[in-house]
Symmetry: C2
Subunit: 259 residues, 2 copies
Amino acid sequence: MLRAGKIDRGTPAAGDEQPPPAAGQQATTTPRRRAASSADEAYEELRQAIHRGDLMPNERLIEVELASRLQVSRGVVRTALVRLGQDGLVVLTPNRGAHVRLVSEEEAVEILQVRAVLEALTARQAASNATAREVTEIRAVLDRMAQRLDSDDLLGYSEGNANLHAAIIAAARHDTAAKLIAGLRGQLVRFQYRTILVPGRAAQSLDEHAAIVEAIAARDPDAAEVAMRRHLGHVESTLADTATAIRHRADPSDGTHPA
Amino acid sequence: MLRAGKIDRGTPAAGDEQPPPAAGQQATTTPRRRAASSADEAYEELRQAIHRGDLMPNERLIEVELASRLQVSRGVVRTALVRLGQDGLVVLTPNRGAHVRLVSEEEAVEILQVRAVLEALTARQAASNATAREVTEIRAVLDRMAQRLDSDDLLGYSEGNANLHAAIIAAARHDTAAKLIAGLRGQLVRFQYRTILVPGRAAQSLDEHAAIVEAIAARDPDAAEVAMRRHLGHVESTLADTATAIRHRADPSDGTHPA
DNA sequence: GTCTCCTAGATTATCAACAATCTTGTGGAC
DNA sequence: GTCCACAAGATTGTTGATAATCTAGGAGAC
């Protein structure tokens, strides 16, 4: 469902939203810090509800219903939906309302491909631009990931994974890429924790991340880019494999079986 | 300024908007063809007005004014502005309205960098996925570019340039990348025709494009990607050079002049 | 003369009512 | 029994009015 009431914008939720403080430059709206308008609150609340899975893919979003849940007027919900539509999280059909967008397996692969080249760019930039302080931080995150993997804490590992990517993006100082990556990540909720559960994938993943960090620390942009591309390329093929595997397991209830 | 009245959606304007028929899948709204609602019309009209330069960067956008010009209600203008804000064309400041976003020289470089890696991806995909028919078409576009360069038709060459990139993107069949590239292109109006005017740049540009086309025709994804990156890398450095050159020419009023 | 406070105008933000459209269910014809 | 037409309900689209906020200019104090 969707818990009603105002949201607390102070804490960006326990989960891993997009790189929180990010590089800089906030959303196009609210450039100065300013009491978040109810419009912004509604937008953020819906965004997180989708991200959190409270609003399921293909679920129909009825304006009056959301309005009463969020305790705002319908117009506010409406503009929030327009914004969400614009960044691809919901689909707006004229006169027929809004659905949470369901991204197909194929789209997920496309999104990962794009993310791969964008994050490769940030890895490259990070190798050039990261401060010594940031390199230390990145190394620390990697170490924590290794510890969690040792103690079989896959969820913690996955979280560290997100943190590492976020740290690299922050160090890259590339707002344009950062913003696009954040937008893409927002569309991939459904496939978040799938790949890391593949047997043996986690160990391999750690090696790949280590290579990326090495390259950045060595100030080698080319190597950093290659390492990042290799890493996300593996994620992509792992995802594609598990997808077909799931299909072959004769499970027709996968997604909405669009195929 | 901004010519009032309804827009003619039949002809996508003489200029080179984003890859017109593109791969497929239209904007998030209006998935079925359906009489464009006044909301969509207003959105498109404003979008093109910004793209065309009728609305200058940093120009303040007053809702009632736009409403009367477009002959729609203020609410319609408002949601159009929200959408434009969401895709980065205008900046919305709470209680203070909307401005056309001015992209700085630095942001332009960032945007080009991102475009470079994304279009490199599409070049790669095109090398894998293009039909024979599409390869022929791409070659034809390149030939036309050569002819126009021969006859010193730089504007026509520039148009062919856009067509070639569009054709490659279409052949790539990668909706996610296509959509992002279109969004990025929309933010770069101000720097559109600058680089091609640098002496000797056009000839070099043609060679670079030829290399890309060769690689796609040869079904060599790696080569296609490298060639595209080289090409847009050169565009980027050319842009950066002319930018500093202009600055050194002691022209402090650089900025809003379309140059 | 310069600064601060305050008022008037302009503009945006929000809301509630109305109109247009779609969806669903019922009844009748064949 | 199945299909089509139609009506009722539900939902979205649009508009205009009202409230909140900001901006600019002037009066007054020092």
